[in-house]
Structures are given as C-alpha cells and as structure tokens.
C-alpha cells in the first residue's frame, strides 16, 4: 500500500467524529444557542458507548447508548439555559466539565480495555482501484454518514423545519409571535447536538480506535466547535472543514512515515492552520459574490 492509499483509506473514518459533533453543534447554533460542552459530551458518549459494546458486544447498543447519554447530558445544558436562563458560556463549560468527569467515572474500571471495531464494507470494483481503492472500503457508519449529511443539508435548507430552525435563531421574537414554541425547538436542537456529539464520541471509542482511555477525545470537541464557526454554519463547508482537517492530520503522519524532510511539529500544526485559512478564504469569496 502506498502512502497515498493509506491517506485515502483513512480520511473518512478519521474525520467522522469531528464531522458528527460539528454538524450537531451547527444545528444548535442555528437556533441561536452556543453549547461549549462538546468535548465533554463526546467523552461521555465515548465512555458509555465503549462500556455498552464491551458488555454486550453490540455496536448498535453502544452507538445508541453513547448518543443517548450525551443527549441527556446536553439536556442539562438546555435546562440551565432555557429553563433557568443561565449564561450559555458558563452552562456549556459546566456541562463539558461534567461530561469529562462522568466519562472518567463510567470508564474507570475499563481503562485501556479494547473491543473489536466494525467490519469494512467494500464497494465492488471501485474498492479494487489502485491508490483510491481504500476510499471505497469503509464501515457502515461512514457509509450512513454520506446520505446523512445530504439529508441534514436538505432539511436545513429546503424544508419548512429548516426554515423554522433558522427563524428561531435569527429572530426568536418573530418566531414566537407567529406561534412557534422557541424553547421547545431550541431544546430539541440541543438534544440533537448532544446526540451527534455522543455518537461521534462512541464512534471514536468503539470503531475508529476501539479502546477506552480517559481523555481519548483529546481536544476533538474543541476542534469541532471551531469548525462550525470557520465553516460559517453551512453544512457543506463544515463537512469540507472536517474532511480537510482529517486529511491533513493523516497526511502529516503519512509524510513522516514516508520520510519527508519536514519537521513533525510543523506537520502537526498544519491541519489547524490550513483548515482555518481555507475556510476563511471560502467565506471571504462568498461575501464578494
């Protein structure tokens, strides 16, 4: 396998946790809220998902459990912000800390345990292509994510539900005046964002790197948060940003393995720089148009 084949084979899976969490947060932010607790929600999803897969052997239960646990945690955020009118930044950070703490608690007796990941499903013929072939051998979640992103885009941009979500975010008073339950819609979006972050975390701990270790999310929640902002709250761009970031991380490791004469520290910081620059260029181009 060449180094390029390695990168192509890994991009989608490596980007998926970021992508799921970022798209979830994007929906939250479209309703006018900001949940800073993504890292903690991903960690909780990862811990609960891992424990479920370890105990039952079922990835369906693991992924669903991870998503559910993080969604419940995100409802604590919704309760504080929407119910008690607490400050969003403080509430989000609090939920994040709580999530990290809970993940450590649930995962404590499973530290460094491993499970099996999911099998790769190959597209006939295409997966035999040289270099690009690996792109067409992915696990079921990656395959499901592709139509999932399209559906999310379609719902947000082309349906009434998407219009309502945006209306709540852009002018809550007007949305309320024409009879929409702003609090309920926002709570729904927060729960969706939590579930997506939890799913991303559970994917990371049960499929991408099928082991549990406290702290394994390693900052990906914060990257997801940044991707939403630099992707200017647009499904396509956030997706592009997540893929770009994943590609550059893998590319950096691949370049080292291939013996490139570039300092590894530079390669390690490149994903952050390039993703930010690319997304800024994209949004600047759009403003001029």
């Amino acid at each position: 396998m060449t180094i390029l084949a390695f990168v192509f084979a890994g991009i989608l899976a490596a980007s998926l946790p970021l992508l799921l969490a970022a798209l979830g947060e994007m929906v939250v932010e479209k309703t006018g809220l900001l949940n800073l607790g993504i890292e903690g929600m991903m960690a909780l999803g990862a811990a609960v998902g891992f424990v479920a897969v370890y105990l039952t052997g079922s990835h369906v239960l693991g992924l669903a459990g991870g998503a559910l646990a993080a969604a419940l945690l995100s409802l604590a955020f919704a309760g504080m912000v929407l119910g008690a009118r607490a400050n969003q930044v403080a509430a989000g950070l609090a939920v994040g800390v709580l999530g990290l703490g809970l993940s450590a608690l649930f995962g404590a007796s499973y530290e460094s345990f491993t499970v099996s990941g999911l099998p790769k499903l190959a597209v006939p013929a295409l997966s035999d292509l040289p270099v690009l072939g690996g792109l067409f051998r992915q696990d079921v979640l990656v395959w499901a994510a592709i139509p999932g992103v399209v559906v999310l885009w379609w719902v947000l941009e082309r349906t009434k539900a998407g219009l309502v979500i945006r209306a709540v975010g852009e002018n809550a008073d007007a949305a309320r005046a024409i009879g929409y339950d702003v609090v309920l819609i926002r709570a729904g979006a927060v729960a969706f964002g939590g579930a997506m972050a939890g799913l991303g975390g559970a994917y990371a701990s049960t499929v991408l790197t099928p082991l549990w270790a406290e702290g394994m999310i390693a900052g990906r929640g914060w990257i997801a948060l940044a991707l939403v902002v630099f992707g200017t709250w647009r499904t396509g761009r956030v997706t592009l940003g997540a893929l770009l970031f994943g590609t550059l991380v893998l590319g950096g490791l691949a370049a080292q393995a291939a013996g490139a004469r570039v300092p590894s520290q530079l390669l390690a910081s490149l994903p952050y720089l390039v993703t930010i620059v690319m997304l800024c260029i994209l949004s600047a181009g759009r403003r001029r148009a």
């Binding site: 390695f6 490596a14 890292e39 345990f113 790197t209 691949a254 080292q256 393995a257 013996g259 300092p263």
Partner: protein, 358 residues
C-alpha cells in the same frame, strides 16, 4: 480544556483522595501522575511499584494516588496541598512537575521528593529515569530476526532525548543482527492521543513496516492495532501481551520498587540523597519479559548473551564506532558515550531513515 479537566480532577481528588487521617508514626506518601492508572503502562507501573513497597510496610505506610493531573500550575497546587496534608514522601511522575516540585522541596526541607525524567536536584529532590535503551537494543535484535521487509517502525510521543535514545538503541540492536535494516519513526507530538497513535502506526504499516515499537504510549493503541494488522510489536513499562497474543514481541519492563524501597528507607533513616538515578538492568528496575516464541533460538541465545553483557558492563550499547544519519562519525571506534551525552542525545544513528525534527 486542560484547565477544565483539572477543575474536574480537583473536585474529584478533593472528594476522594484525602480522607486518610494522619498518624504520627505512619509514613504518608503521595504519588501524582499525568495519565490515568489503567491496567498497563507508565502510570500503572509506577503506582504498582509503590504499592509493592507499601505492602512491606503494612500499616506503617499510607499511600495516596492522585491521577490524572496535567502538568501546570494546578499540579503545583495539588502537590502543595498534599504536603499541607502531612505527606512527607512524594513521587512526581512527570517531567513537567519539575519546577513546582523543586520549589516545594526547597520550602520543605523535611520532606523528600522523587521526580521522574527530570534533571534538577536538591538535597531532598531526586530525579530518576530508566535506561530503556538497554532493553530496546535487545528488542531491536528480536525485531531483526522476525522482519521480512527489513523495515521497522516506531510510533513516538515527542522527539525528546529519552525517546530518541531508545530508538537509536533499537536501530543499533536490529542492525547488529541484520545491517540492512531500516527504522522509520512517526512522531505523534502528543503524550496521549490513542486515535492519532493508531493512525501513525497504520501509516508506518502502509510503508511496508512489519515490526512496531510503541514508544511511550500509555494505552495499548499501537499494540492492539499491530495484532489486528499482523505486525510484531513491543512496548515499554508493562506487558501488553494480552492485547497482541500472537504478535507480541516482548516488553522492556520497569519495576521501580527496588529503588523506591531504597529511597523510602533513606527517607525514614535520614540518609536520603538528592542525586540523579539512572536505573537499568543492574538496578533490577529494568527487565525483559514475554518474549515472542517466534524468535529463532540462535537469536534468542544471542539476546540473552547481550543482556548478560550489558548487565556486567562488558557490552556498551553506545560504544563506537557510531555514525549518524548524515554519515558523520559521532563516536570513534573504541570510544563510548558519557552519561550526559546519552541523556542529551539529539541525533539519530545511521539506519534510522526519518529525519529528526529540530
């Protein structure tokens, strides 16, 4: 994120870690580490070693374990609290605890502190490290006997001398058995990111590497991946054979308890000395275990011979002639490297193909 995690840890440690009541005749010891304890790895080995010493003292020694504490100002606060709570013997298990730890030692001459991987000393502040390179040399020999592609790979955390030295010894050992062998390195630039560690290992495997050295990963990320992909693998500190039952090459293990026991005894009778301890086979701190049964008998015999010679001092891992990556001779034939030179090694030997980041 670091601050957040620390806040959470602070709350937890306040709730869980400090209930032990002080008794005058009980030695109160505390160990602080940057990664969670787990069942394998750096933190696990350090805590286990202390527990082994504690078992000998029974009720006369009280051990508090505080993990995971990121390096930084919060770590300083936590170690200060531990001293305020009556702990008189501290083990600080990470390089980045050094500055806070040495200040604490200066302010409290009655306590004694052991510090992993550092270089500063005080009368009551003793840094320590393991000579992993003694073991990685032997693992290089084992790897060379099993590789088919003649390409070995290393997943490294950070490009610091301690890790560079282990990699160099690994390459030297491999090339003693087979001079055609090449070693590639991928630096993850993180002490802890299992997903990136696995991707780094995959990148190496895609280049035809068929033996992996998991250098300073505290989880079985690389080891379990190697089993899955059919590559031989070894790691440091504690055995991870359970994660790679068919592909486990062995472990360069550490058991700190003999040295901890000595320092604790020194603390109790007032003979504690703050000097750097570099611990290897001869100190019974470093040991080899769980060698793969696939290693051919003649190489296994040669490995045993080399280990004995390293122990007795008859064999010098970094004995000349040593040539660096650019072909320049660094150590002349017959010469050897001094301890400070090995401790500060910032160049790769010939045979390591990856350029070193600087």
């Amino acid at each position: 994120m670091r601050t957040l995690k620390t806040l959470a840890t602070l709350a937890l440690s306040a709730a869980l870690a400090l209930p032990a009541a002080a008794q005058d005749d009980t030695l109160k010891a505390m160990v602080m580490l940057p990664s969670p304890e787990g069942d394998v790895g750096w933190s696990f080995t350090m805590i286990e070693s202390l527990r082994r010493v504690q078992a000998e003292y029974g009720d006369a020694m009280d051990l508090t374990v505080i993990t995971p504490i990121p390096e930084g100002p919060d770590a300083d606060r936590i170690m200060n609290n531990a001293v305020a709570d009556g702990n008189e013997f501290l083990v600080l298990g990470s390089f980045g605890y050094m500055n806070g730890g040495i200040q604490l030692a200066k302010r409290n001459p009655d306590i004694d502190i052991l510090h992993a991987s550092g270089y500063l000393t005080e009368d009551n502040f003793a840094p320590f490290a393991a000579k992993y390179w003694q073991g990685t040399y032997l693992m290089g020999m084992a790897a060379a006997s099993l590789t088919e592609s003649k390409k070995l790979g290393v997943v490294g955390a950070f490009a610091i001398p301690e890790l560079i030295t282990s990699i160099n010894a690994f390459a030297l050992g491999a090339r003693e058995v087979d001079p055609e062998i090449e070693v590639s390195v991928v630096w993850v630039n993180s002490w802890f990111d299992p997903a990136a560690e696995q991707d780094a290992a995959r990148a190496l495997l895609s280049q035809g590497v068929d033996v992996l050295f998991s250098n300073a990963q505290d989880t079985p990320s690389v080891v379990s991946l190697a089993e899955e992909e059919g590559a031989y693998v070894f790691n440091l500190n504690s055995s991870m054979k359970a994660y790679a039952p068919s592909r486990y090459l062995g472990v360069v293990g550490t058991d700190w308890s003999p040295w901890f026991a000595e320092k604790i005894a020194g603390h109790l009778d007032g003979t504690f000395e703050g000097e750097f301890a570099w611990l290897g086979f001869g100190d019974d701190v470093l040991f080899m275990a769980d060698y793969s049964a696939d290693i051919p008998d003649d190489v296994a015999a040669l490995i045993a011979e080399r280990e004995a010679a390293i122990r007795s001092g008859d064999f010098d891992v970094f004995g000349g002639p040593l040539v660096d990556q650019s072909g320049t001779e660094r150590v002349a034939s017959g010469a050897s490297m001094s301890d400070p030179e090995i401790l500060g090694m910032d160049w790769h030997v010939e045979g390591v193909t990856t350029p070193l980041p600087n």
